[in-house]
Subunit: 416 residues, 2 copies
């Protein structure tokens, strides 16, 4: 099945908005076994007509987003109706919804808003739960007179509007068009602590030998999703291979990221974690507190960027700092243990290193970092890593390594 | 001038990579006064040929990215040469560069790498300082026989390779093609603490009255760039209007973000800042330490998520917490003053609030937040904000408000 995306939006062409919808739709379609054959992005206004015409003449399915709003340069609805030779009539249901939407806000719809209630004859209205612009679906037979064989979907541009509509209105219709579409499934195995190339080496050959299994990799923030799509039999067989060979690296099978997994593991156990960071400067605590509900398992964090702060707040001995330097195994250990003591938590993670690009030495180049984990009832462990990369990536990979050390400790896995 | 982008990359169609290049290029072109008329994205392989052919038949300039690598499905170079009927010959300069690139890594180029040294006759090689794939430029006259009038640039896909090449190889050639291109300039005035609609209200009418001034807005992370492009006269006149009416909101004129500005202001004064965060959970300290060199002005940070941590590490009185609750003006003040005292810094920022979505009450709904600033030699100030939005945005806007309070204090501006 050939599927094309058409996006209209001047903000996309000016670069004022990054096109995250296209990537999200690409992933959703890959899960259905459909590769997006082309994306076309044009500014608001008349250019969308030509783009839809070209896409519909080539593709089995065209998803158009944007241009359904109330302003003059929103012409997606009218352009499509014109191309297909369909008259527009005011839809009573959409009109009622628009009136209700504005009444709730103590307003009445403007005439320009009522354009959104015009529906081409033969098209199906797709409900938009998060905005005023309904979507529209044109079954392929409406284009038969033009020699097209293309199902056309018109959808709004804002991510929070289009995403539920793709899931609820587009995907069921695509599944119905696909042979075996109703029986397809997808599993995302999210792995961390292992690179894509090593994953490939360990499982790809055997996964590719499974007939009907579609394999893909999505590189995330410090993790890799192995995407297995197809019918239940091959997908389950593939997942078993990955679990069997790489089980300790799998942090979730539902796309949850590491901080979400950690917060849930701790909440289930009624345990607490505290943090003591130098070079990551609060990024570790920020990731943990990105998760709603983290206040039940996280109470104390320290950003001890200066040596004096390590001494004063974590009780790191001055002579330890002098003897080994702040970036050292003994200091990482003392930070974690001091943090555990002063916070009263069950686990304390510490990080000390050189984020770079400056501050490195020949002995300890930029990118050198020690991660410590002190735990009630366990010996403190310290691991050394080397991430000579950009500051952003350094912070990301270092905090990922720290959180993964904690995950492994909690789950009783080897500590690497 | 009509410019089109063509991107090739299966990862873009599968959604495994977000197309950030397209937005970045859109912004660069807007600064030159060129709106991108269309973006076309196709998977790796043969589809790029058709996309280039269509774009070149419509546009004055086509920027193609991706498909210059050594693998079999990288066919951008060969497809373009074929479309233009140009034979490929091995280029001695590129070959020498490839050999040098691999020699530096103790390797020799594979045969597949040497394909990257094949140059279509008449095309100009564009140097790639960060990768093995050189770019290529085809002046419009090479397509005259096809009836095209299109300058074609082939560029690599990875952001760190393509960005310097657009700046150094593409933009000078586009400037030469534009009337007055050599005399064009652009200013980005970055504003914070004021919304786009208010900016529009205050300056847009008068900016639009300046002949030859191109005006745009880029919404950033907690800030808005007002983009003024055109010839020096109108651009300077426009910038003066913005500076005159909105000067206190301008944080930079060189796209530096707020944390960079803060770190520089402090470094210039030899002053230090410390942080005490509750609901933002370390995001404030993480932003400050995102800036290289921040260790010269930032040493101590506290994430006092639990009340007990506020008491123990910042000396907030237990009865203050009991009487007013953790989310209150007196507690924000006590956190800032306690942080100033224990850190010995010149300034201390505190944040206490309810990030949501849970944890709110009728009196203090989710989104309520207090920001405190204690300063040596100044009275402590506390400001209340209300951001009933997603957790991510809450953390962003709250830390932006805190950093802006500090900027205004340092610069002697009204504290809002």
């Amino acid at each position: 099945m050939r599927l094309e995306l058409v996006n209209t939006g001047t903000e996309l062409c000016l670069g004022d908005t990054i096109n995250t919808n296209a990537a999200w739709i690409g992933q959703r379609m890959a899960a259905l076994g459909i590769e997006v054959a082309r994306q076309t992005i044009v500014p608001d206004g008349g250019a969308v007509r030509e783009a839809i015409e070209e896409a519909a003449s080539r593709a089995d399915v065209v998803l158009v987003s944007g241009g359904l709003g109330p302003t003059n340069d929103d012409v997606t609805r009218e352009s499509t109706a014109e191309l297909l030779g369909l008259p527009l009539v005011q839809d009573a249901g959409v009109t009622a919804q628009l009136n209700a939407y504005f009444a709730k806000r103590n307003k009445v719809p403007a005439v320009s808003n009522l354009r959104q209630a015009m529906v081409p004859v033969g098209a199906t209205v797709l409900e938009n739960a998060f905005g005023t612009a309904p979507g529209l679906y044109f079954p392929a037979e409406l284009g038969a007179a033009k020699g097209w064989n293309s199902h056309i979907f018109l959808l709004p541009g804002p991510p929070r509007e289009i995403k539920p509509m793709v899931e609820n209105c587009v995907e069921p219709r695509l599944r119905a068009l696909l042979p075996d579409g109703a029986n397809r499934r997808v599993i995302y195995l999210k792995l961390t602590g292992i690179g894509e190339s090593e994953i490939v080496e360990k499982v790809e050959k055997d996964l590719e030998a499974i007939a009907g299994l579609e394999l893909g990799y999505c590189i995330g923030k410090g993790d890799v999703d192995v995407r297995l799509a197809g019918l239940a039999g091959p997908v389950d067989a593939g997942a078993e291979i990955v679990r069997d060979r790489l089980g300790e690296f799998i942090l979730s099978e539902d796309r949850r990221v590491l901080e979400e997994v950690i917060i849930q593991l701790l909440a289930e156990r009624g345990e607490w974690v505290a943090t003591a960071e130098s070079c990551t400067g609060g990024y570790l605590s920020s990731r943990l507190t990105d998760v709603s509900g983290s206040s039940k398992v996280y109470g104390h964090g320290f950003v001890t960027y200066a040596n004096e702060a390590k001494e004063k707040h974590l009780g790191v001995a001055a002579d330890l700092l002098q003897l080994h330097g702040a970036v050292s195994e003994p200091v990482a250990q003392a930070m974690a243990e001091g943090c555990l003591r002063t916070s009263g938590a069950d686990y304390a993670l510490s990080i000390t290193g050189i984020a770079g690009p400056t501050g490195g030495t020949e002995e300890k180049p930029a990118g050198t970092v020690y991660v410590g984990l002190a735990s009630k009832g366990h010996e403190t462990v310290v691991r050394k890593f080397f991430y000579p990369i950009s500051r952003d990536r350094f912070k990301l990979l270092t905090t990922q390594a720290a959180l993964d050390l904690l995950r492994r400790q909690i789950q009783g896995l080897p500590l690497g």
